[in-house]
Symmetry: C2
């Protein structure tokens, strides 16, 4: 099965700008991308990076500068899986749970209405990552007559978009993403009722 | 096995104050509490609400006005489970995953460093909900010589503390909590790159 790992190579992770400089965001994003690709590879599948511009990683890369939805749907030949490049908590065990259900469409919801990972085995299903994508994808599966399975995984639900997500990487990550944050001086610190990623140096 | 469901009955859910009035927060918190108790009961176990003040629910209630850590540890006779009262996405299937591992300590991490649910079968383990509790609980399990299992569940990881959590209830909840939000006029709306819970009336 093809496993696409979409990656926004130009100015990635802009919503982390309050926590990281531009060059840091690019570096951290690539660290997470490599983690995700290795995690997919550890399940015995070959990931293909679907990038908006060339990116230097030890995995096959296809460049398509169209928006995410168009670029993914252009390569959607069932069976195909899509795993986002910023799932810094993903483990081989969590990714195996995505592939386990014998359903036409398998969805792993992301926090905030996203669809962080999916498997498509049905010809009439296409992605729409705009808007409330998890809701739209459930509806699209229904309308396509596809049976749907949902993966209940914290590790697949956390995508790293905003500063508040960094603490999840620090506490639960175990790859380059976490290592990058630690090297950059971040640590998980308890404040008044919250835990957040603070940079010590 | 005893299943404790801690509930802050006095002025609950203060961090939702930007989204809900005080009386609404109390109402919504009780709706979620009832959902969690019914979900636990649906797995064949009897929940006991451990509340800081009397609360009217059709389940056994024990009142203890001490802080969470002290109140829970005072009743920690292994085997005991603790399931937070604001897990509005919890389903019987997700809760069964908490009870499935045959480990001395089972932890379900919450977003932001919390520990949203746990099973304790070891005498030397005690809770500490202050600070980065998931990190502390992992350490405590290690120090107690207890073997540890972790449940990778999105449904158990989302506790409803802040306005941003409401969208998860709208999109993935299926009990009184979601119904309460819908009746109050909330809907999941896509904004610029984000999905949030907006109140329409």
């Amino acid at each position: 099965m093809a496993v696409l790992v979409p990656f926004a190579a130009d100015n990635p992770k802009t919503r982390l700008e309050k926590a990281l400089e531009s060059a840091e965001r690019a570096d951290f994003a690539r660290a997470m991308l490599r983690d995700v690709c290795e995690t997919v590879a550890a399940t015995g599948r070959e990931p293909t990076v679907l990038a908006t511009a060339p990116v230097d990683v030890p995995h096959p890369v296809v460049v398509d500068d169209r928006p995410l939805t168009e670029a993914v749907n252009a390569r959607l030949e069932p069976p195909t899986a899509v795993v986002m490049a910023d799932l810094a908590l993903a483990t081989p065990t969590a990714v195996e749970r995505l592939f386990a259900p014998d359903a036409d469409v398998v969805l792993a919801p992301g926090l905030g209405g996203g669809t962080n990972a999916a498997v498509v085995r049905h010809d009439a299903f296409a992605f729409d990552y705009h808007g409330v994508s998890i809701r739209d994808h459930r509806r699209r599966a229904r309308e396509a007559g596809a049976d749907l399975a949902t993966v209940d995984s914290f590790r697949l639900a956390v995508d790293v978009d905003e500063p508040r997500d960094l603490v999840e990487v620090l506490l639960h990550g175990n790859g380059r993403g976490r290592e990058w944050l630690r090297d950059a001086g971040f640590d998980a610190v308890a404040t008044d009722g919250r835990v957040e990623a603070r940079r010590g140096r």
